[in-house]
């Protein structure tokens, strides 16, 4: 399977995603430049973490107008797999590929720390192989997920909340919610399930050198889903 990792100006986790895909999991990966208007031969697009356009104005607001994004939207609409991690998630909401918005953290500070994620729906292409919980660090200042009540109702009703912040023991818990996200939401998918956005960084725990390595299950799941469908 081949992953295409978008490099926006200011992306800084592009190499980290590349590392997990290529060096930990042994799959193909390439970088997609933001000025590119098209791409081909990619099976999954990663919008990586970082500070695209400095995160000035609003995180992801300027990046979503990059030339590459039209192609990403087309790719997503045709069923291609797209995952946005951290800044990538923000870009996806700005681009309208996922509902809601990411607000400033409740305590107005940047937070970098491990989080435990409860896999709230294990039947998505992104989670089929995931254990009940995975560990993935967060590193963000605007990670507080917000959506209006209707949207939230739909997300919950359709099983589109994929990850929630949980205690180390794996229980959903308000104290474990680092940023004030509504319903402890850490990650969601679109209706069709081919687009995932998540604030925590599974690629930062893809390797047992860095933690328990459980972040890699997100990537393994999508590889599995892709290969099963091929």
């Amino acid at each position: 399977m081949k992953f295409g990792i978008v490099t926006f100006p200011g992306s800084n986790c592009d190499h980290d995603s590349y590392h997990v895909v290529k060096h930990v999991l042994g799959h193909e990966a390439c970088f997609l430049w933001h000025k590119q208007e098209d791409f081909s031969g990619v099976d999954c697009v990663v919008l990586p973490g970082g500070f695209s356009y400095g995160d000035y104005l609003r995180c992801g607001a300027i990046a979503r107008f990059s030339p590459i994004m039209d192609a990403v939207v087309r790719f997503a609409n045709s069923g291609g797999y797209v995952v946005g991690i951290c800044n990538g998630f923000q870009v996806l909401t700005e681009a309208g590929l996922l509902p809601g918005a990411l607000l400033q953290n409740r305590d107005l500070k940047f937070i970098c720390e491990d989080t435990t994620l409860l896999v709230a729906n294990g039947h998505t292409p992104w989670t089929v192989l995931c254990p009940e919980t995975i560990m993935a660090p967060i590193a963000h200042h605007e990670g507080c997920y917000f959506a209006d009540d209707d949207t939230l109702g739909r997300l919950e009703g359709e099983g589109r909340v994929v990850f929630r912040y949980a205690s180390r023991a794996g229980e959903e818990a308000a104290e474990a919610n680092p940023n004030g996200a509504v319903n402890n939401i850490a990650g969601i998918i679109n209706e069709r399930g081919n687009v995932l956005g998540m604030m925590p960084h599974p690629e930062r725990n893809g390797d047992t050198e860095l933690g328990d390595g459980s972040g890699a299950w997100v990537f393994r799941s999508i590889i599995h889903s892709f290969e099963a469908q091929a």
Partner: protein, 768 residues
């Protein structure tokens, strides 16, 4: 002086102010210095030239006071690929790889505007590293603030930490380690020292040496505004209360632009287009161009009118002295300008030819074909004034040395809890949680999890361990002994993870050097650092001096901080300080504790007096060897050196970080017995006294005898003192009488909340 060059006359630029006595004074030049300027030019300087001399001869740029002393540092060794004198130093870690690093102060700007001052400090030190063609992989910082209850402290802490975070997080370089300490001597002068570390191909190190007459000089990066004009002069002056000098426009950092600049430079330096490259730091365009020409022994011509500007109406003086951030100067190979321009335009940055390398030894600036400055390069560099300022032993030195008479407190549980809650020792999670310390997926041992951070080197099985250290109370009490102690502690900190220290960088933060007592402290501290470095055979490869940290007549404590880079051959063996689930606790080294000048004396008795602990270098080296060998052989599972707060605090820190190995855990109990100690009734001395040469380590029970044998072989005393387990922290004296016995929960509570309580910031939620 070098051979006298003939300097062409330069007529005053219409509209520029007069160069008169008042102007000379305002520029911080003494009468003698001004005479020297006239002498080197063979005429009076123009307004522009006056500004240029003023910044280039400022303490900050010229090291005129410190130069003489810095020569004592060992700077050579088989590992040194680049010593002091370049933008940053480089040590060899094998596999064709070098580690490039440097530390720099941004004290004055951070006091005026904490967020931007700290942010631009990070930006500046990163540029120093990536101009060498090194990919930055880690940031560190050493911070000093005034008393936690001083009305300004909280605002400064908040701003400085957020500024460091704001820059490092955005540019995507992990901030992996550092230190934060409080002392009333910093009430009017906080310290912000930032260190950057990068990796570079040993055969692709770039330097800032202008060469090749006719080669074009390119300006790249952000545009020039009126930011921080006279920043270097300001950094060479003390704060005077109530004085409203010429307030420079505060420099604002733009980490996003710097990220583009970083990537553009990394890409460009792969191509054969660049002869020399240097960042524009203090004194911007002036110092970068002068220094490149100085190192190359060439001249340089600048067309100042071609400099990209952010504001209209800027004069040559302003353009040359501006300290706008995120800019670099490049000497390209003639005919390869287009390569530079192409790469920079890919990254949406400007690259403009603004001059060329010449052979006349002159630094010449023209504005629309009219010469506005013409100065021999040497006059601004090698021939800048050098001072041998008077030094005098402080009148109160004997008093400082006197051992204080400290009555025993009696309740060691309470003493321990108070020490752990004191802001210098308490948990710094509030700080490092704001730093992205994991980006780049290289941080194997994270902040709080060990005495040094451990970063994997991509493509190898190696890792480096990095730390910064300083103990200004020890240095104040005795600069020579205290400074040696700083080296010992820094080396121990990297050795505790299993690393061999390879090289050091330093930041020498001192008061006003025109005070003979400050100069004496400086001389003794530098001598102490140099002695320590020689004892461990660690060269200094880069560094920085910050004088004039003084407000009113209050100088800061002499505060040398040292950053060390160590090498771990097999990163799988790197260890942290947290207790593993089981094992035996071994004390390596023989404690020689003192109570004066310690955290105990300050926190419990409000006393700051007495000789600091003295380093016994034979013992220290034996300890370093044992730590390294013990970790490399897989015997040592956790290690933590004894420093502030003594044996008891060190043990408590291991317990608190316990439960997980490479990250901070949720706490584990342990119980140990103290060694017998000659001085009877020396309980508090043994528990809380500070000493060099000691570390607690944990071994699996079955490995204990191997570790003891290894220590013996390497000449380091070692003693099994207890074991991991339970949910209490228990310390018994040599007779088995418990002296400390506390539930881990209580210990944790004191330690985890100490910082936020003292500083008055909201406590972070419990550890996940």
């Amino acid at each position: 002086m070098t051979d006298r060059l003939r300097v062409p006359p330069v007529s005053p630029r219409p509209g520029d102010p007069q160069v008169d006595d008042a102007a000379v004074r305002e520029h911080g030049l003494t009468t003698d210095e001004f005479a020297r300027v006239c002498d080197s030019l063979g005429r009076a300087p123009t307004w522009t030239e006056l500004g240029v001399f003023s910044v280039m001869w400022s303490e900050h740029c010229s090291y005129k006071t410190s130069r003489k002393f810095l020569k004592q540092f060992p700077t050579e060794g088989p590992r040194v690929l680049q010593g002091p004198g370049e933008n940053a130093g480089v040590v060899d870690v094998g596999d064709g790889l070098g580690i490039c690093f440097k530390m720099e102060s941004h004290n004055h700007p951070s006091f005026i505007e904490p967020y931007q001052g700290a942010a631009t400090g990070v930006g500046g030190i990163l540029r120093d590293v990536f101009t060498m063609n090194a990919r930055p992989i880690a940031l560190l910082n050493s911070l000093r603030f005034g008393s936690p209850d001083h009305p300004k402290t909280r605002h400064l802490v908040d701003g400085v930490v957020a500024g460091i975070a704001g820059y490092g997080n955005c540019i995507g370089v992990p901030t992996v380690a550092g230190e934060v300490a409080f002392h009333p001597c910093y009430d009017g002068n906080n310290l912000v020292n930032a260190m950057a570390v990068g990796t570079v191909s040993a055969d692709r190190i770039f330097r800032g040496i202008a060469a090749g007459v006719g080669n074009p000089v390119l300006y790249v990066g952000a545009r020039t505004g009126r930011d921080g004009i006279h920043g270097a002069t300001m950094a060479s002056d003390s704060f005077e209360e109530g004085r409203e000098g010429p307030r420079p426009t505060v420099q604002v950092g733009d980490p996003y632009t710097e990220k583009l600049l970083l990537e553009a430079c990394m890409e460009l330096l792969q191509k054969d287009a660049v002869v020399a490259i240097q960042d524009m730091g203090a004194a911007g365009l002036t110092s970068s161009s002068v220094e490149m020409a100085g190192r190359g022994g060439t001249g340089l011509l600048l067309h100042v009118d071609r400099v990209p500007r952010r504001e209209s109406g800027m004069t040559p003086y302003e353009c040359l002295l501006s300290e706008s951030q995120e800019r670099m100067l490049i000497v390209a190979a003639r005919g390869r300008e287009d390569v530079v321009e192409e790469v920079f335009s890919k990254w949406d940055l400007e690259a403009v030819v603004v001059g060329e390398v010449t052979d006349d030894g002159l630094w010449t600036v023209v504005e629309n074909d009219r010469t506005v400055a013409s100065i021999p390069v040497g006059a601004l560099t090698d021939d800048a004034p050098v001072y041998d300022r008077p030094r005098q032993e402080p009148a109160d030195l004997a008093q400082r040395h006197e051992t204080p008479d400290l009555p025993a407190h009696g309740d060691c549980n309470e003493v321990l809890l108070r020490l752990l809650a004191s802001p210098n020792i308490a948990d710094k999670r509030w700080v490092y949680r704001q730093y992205d310390h994991m980006v780049r997926v290289g941080t194997l041992v994270k902040p709080g999890a060990a005495d040094a951070a451990v970063i994997g080197l991509p493509g190898t099985s190696k890792a480096i361990a990095v730390c910064v250290d300083g103990n200004s109370v020890h240095v104040k009490m005795d600069p020579f002994e205290g400074a040696q102690g700083v080296i010992a502690e820094a080396c121990r900190n990297v050795a505790c993870t299993g690393a061999e220290p390879l090289g050091a960088t330093d930041c020498l933060n001192f008061g006003n050097p025109e005070r003979p007592e400050v100069m004496w402290e400086f001389e003794r501290a530098v001598a102490g650092l140099a002695e320590g470095l020689r004892q461990v055979e660690v060269p200094i490869v880069s560094g920085n001096v910050s004088f004039y940290n003084e407000t009113g007549s209050q100088s800061i404590h002499p505060t040398p901080t040292v950053g060390i880079v160590g090498l771990i051959e097999d990163r799988a063996h790197a260890v942290g300080l947290g207790l593993p689930e089981s094992g035996q606790l071994v004390l390596l080294g023989s404690p020689r504790p003192v109570l004066g000048a310690t955290a105990y004396a300050r926190c419990i008795h409000d006393v700051e007096q007495g000789m600091p602990p003295r380093v016994q270098w034979d013992d220290e080296r034996a300890l370093l060897r044992t730590l390294r060998a013990g970790v490399a052989r897989g015997l040592i599972r956790a290690a933590h050196d004894v420093s502030e707060g003594g044996l008891a605090v060190a043990l408590a820190e291991m317990a608190l970080a316990g439960g997980r190995t490479r990250e901070v855990g949720s706490g584990l109990g342990c119980s140990v017995q103290l060694p017998a100690y000659p001085e009877a009734e020396a309980r508090e001395l043994l528990l809380f006294g500070e000493t060099h040469g000691c570390a607690w380590v944990v071994v699996d029970e079955e490995d204990a005898s191997d570790l003891l044998a290894l220590s013996q072989e390497l000449g380091c005393p070692a003693r099994v003192a207890g074991s991991v387990g339970g949910d209490e922290l228990c310390v018994a004296d040599a007779h088995g009488t418990p002296v400390v016995q506390l539930p881990i929960e209580r210990v944790r509570d004191a330690w985890e909340h100490g910082f936020s309580k003292a500083v008055g910031v909201p406590a972070p939620p419990p550890r996940p």
